[in-house]
């Protein structure tokens, strides 16, 4: 059932000069009470720079406060606002309506995550798999014990992993991954990319223990290098690259 409303001009946070409007379709679903999701439709004014998140917040402010959405930083840093936007996983705060080239913007919760309500999904499993690959430096000594104040690293050594350290744990990659569409046990591109982030860090000595962790039947071998993770990552992490490098170690292509 569609419910079309339009924002009264004097209430809109988007300036009055906004001449264009877009039909925003929001998936509503409460797993505790609903059988399936329903779409609510709103006509929302927008500017060239209006993000999908701003449009959703406009709807919350003026029409329906009960729309559940998670966000915090509004600048692609906290990793909270991942959702399906016109069928593809993206950050709502990092996606401008104008770049979608469509008169209709449909927002749904990310796939491959349990829905809490509407657009908000549970991240427990993402954080668990992230933790599983030991996302910290592994060494025998520690910074506090050694004579040196810090572990030195050259700019070149930094380049080897800095790209992977950009991960904001937004989960878009896990939502796009074709293996995750059916496999609830797969460790997933986010965690695998982080395994590589630490393996590639010259200060880390935990390569063998991390390779052990991902070398299992629902580990790295379930990756088929479809690359969808890298195509949706909003931070340029390129999980597919890191995963193939990791597998290179396991297959003996790299040492």
């Amino acid at each position: 059932m569609a419910q079309v409303s339009s924002i009264a001009e004097e209430q809109a946070t988007t300036p009055l000069s906004a001449s264009k409007s877009v039909l925003l379709r929001i998936s509503r679903f409460n797993p505790e009470t609903d059988e399936s999701n329903k779409f609510m439709e709103f006509s929302v004014p927008y500017q060239k720079w209006t993000t999908v998140l701003e449009a959703i917040l406009d709807v919350k402010k003026h029409f329906d406060h009960s729309v559940a959405v998670r966000y915090s930083c509004r600048q692609a840093t906290c990793g909270s606002c991942g959702m399906l936007i016109n069928g593809k996983p993206r950050l709502a705060c990092f996606t401008k309506i104008s770049e979608l080239n469509s008169n209709v913007v449909t927002v749904e919760p990310m796939n491959n995550f349990p829905v809490i309500r509407d657009l908000a999904v549970k991240f427990e499993r993402l954080f668990d798999t992230h933790q599983k690959i030991k996302p910290y430096l592994i060494r025998d000594d520690t910074e506090l014990e050694s004579d040196e104040k810090e572990f030195l690293q050259s700019p070149e050594e930094l380049e080897n992993f800095i790209q992977f350290a950009n991960c904001i744990k937004c989960g878009l990659c896990n939502s796009a991954c074709p293996t995750m569409t059916t496999d609830s046990s797969f460790v997933g591109p986010q965690a695998l990319a982080q395994a590589y982030r630490y393996v590639a860090d010259s200060r880390d000595k935990g390569k063998d223990s991390r390779l052990d962790i991902i070398d299992e039947s629902h580990g790295i071998w379930r990756c088929h290098f479809a690359g969808s993770c890298s195509q949706v990552c909003p931070k340029g992490v390129d999980p597919a690259m890191g995963i193939q490098f990791l597998r290179g170690y396991l297959l003996g292509f790299r040492s």
């Binding site: 796939n111 995550f113 290098f225 690259m241 193939q244 290179g248």
Partner: protein, 143 residues
């Protein structure tokens, strides 16, 4: 359980529309792999007909001389060529070959692993498969 995690399921896995040629190659690799597996099993069954003697062998082989048989074999040729070509690309990629080099990412964050080398690998596997299929058709349907 599936409902719980909001998984897309097989439909999402097999939907090639959203993530570029790499995801299409992923799907084709699966389909051709399964197709070849099916052909392989059928092939073992077919060749086992030799146990029925010359008559049985010829009888079964006649199936491949029909139009349907020709079309089937042309498909097998295409599957074989694509699967092999793309398979070599994937094996190299899986070893970390040709997937780019880590670098400080910059907007718009084009992923280096989804690069032209792999795209060329995919497109050439498709073109090679098409050429091989046309050659096969020319031989089988020729004259």
């Amino acid at each position: 359980m599936t409902q719980d995690e909001n998984k897309e399921g097989i439909k999402g896995m097999a939907n090639p529309g959203r993530y570029g040629i790499e995801r299409i190659a992923y799907l084709l690799m699966r389909l051709t792999g399964l197709g070849l597996l099916g052909y392989f099993i059928a092939h073992v069954y077919e060749t086992s007909n030799i146990l029925r003697g010359r008559m049985g062998w010829d009888e079964f082989l006649a199936l491949t001389q029909t139009t349907e048989g020709h079309i089937f074999l042309v498909l097998v040729i295409g599957m074989c060529v694509f699967h092999t070509g793309n398979g070599i690309r994937i094996m190299l990629g899986h070893g970390g070959v040709g997937v780019g080099k880590p670098a400080r990412p910059d907007y718009p964050y084009d992923p280096a692993s989804q690069n032209y080398r792999h795209k060329i690998g995919i497109y050439s596997s498709i073109v090679l498969a098409a050429v091989a299929m046309m050659y096969g058709m020319a031989v089988m349907f020729g004259e």
